[in-house]
Point group: C2
Chain length 139, copies 2
């Protein structure tokens, strides 16, 4: 059994994060030592790693809960996992498209900005013009 520091190290996560995951019930410590220390066994460490990976892919904590369920439940179907992933992929694609829009518009504007001592600037002009309607959906 590892204390939180050992588990965090093994999972390559900050101690604070591991404690946070325990707090929100995502990955509970197996037991408490008699002095109230959190203790983690190997399978808990594996779960921590699993979550670190899932988070790195941008899955939200709530979705991570679902994925963890799938991971732990031997009766899970690959269908569910694929569906979750597909939804996430769709969001990623949306975000990428929005960023691309932003990028293109902004690049276009920046290309036409002299970038010198003079004050006139197409970027500012664009932002100031009430008639413009910049690309949406960045968040």
């Amino acid at each position: 059994m590892l204390q939180i520091g050992g588990a965090a190290k093994a999972a390559e996560l900050p101690v604070k994060t591991v404690r946070y995951y325990d707090e929100i019930g995502l990955i509970k410590a197996n037991t408490q030592s008699e002095k109230g220390y959190r203790l983690y066994d190997e399978s808990a460490v594996h779960k921590l790693i699993f979550i670190r990976h899932a988070r790195a892919f941008g899955f939200s904590i709530e979705v991570c809960r679902e994925l963890l369920d799938c991971y732990q439940n031997p009766a899970r179907t690959s269908q569910e996992v694929k569906a979750v992933t597909a939804r996430h992929l769709a969001q990623i694609r949306e975000k990428m498209a929005a960023l691309q829009q932003l990028h293109d518009t902004l690049t276009h504007l920046a290309d036409h900005c002299h970038g010198d001592e003079r004050p006139d600037c197409p970027i500012i002009d664009y932002l100031a013009d009430p008639d413009n309607d910049p690309p949406t959906g960045v968040l």
Copy 2:
């Protein structure tokens, strides 16, 4: 002079947001009516629109402050604006690259997932494998 509702409507922003911008000192109301109502003139409305546009491009509030300075200061140089924009563009490109990585890896995994009743799933397997190191930098 418009009350906050009128200004918000003219700038196409929620009233709450306009009040928030006043609170944080981004765009102060011109005056208060004797009853304590915020009052906005046309130039304040223009600033609100300016900020709405800048925010739509993903500029943070703090960067918006700088851009607003540039907008209001006739002695500004286009250099500064271009620099701010270039930094932002770099961040956008970074994020796009990270998302692309994510997308590709996840797509690859999803393609190899049967998505049927069986439990085995390369996505779960990937997430569970401690040796994997998923793409970084989503946030």
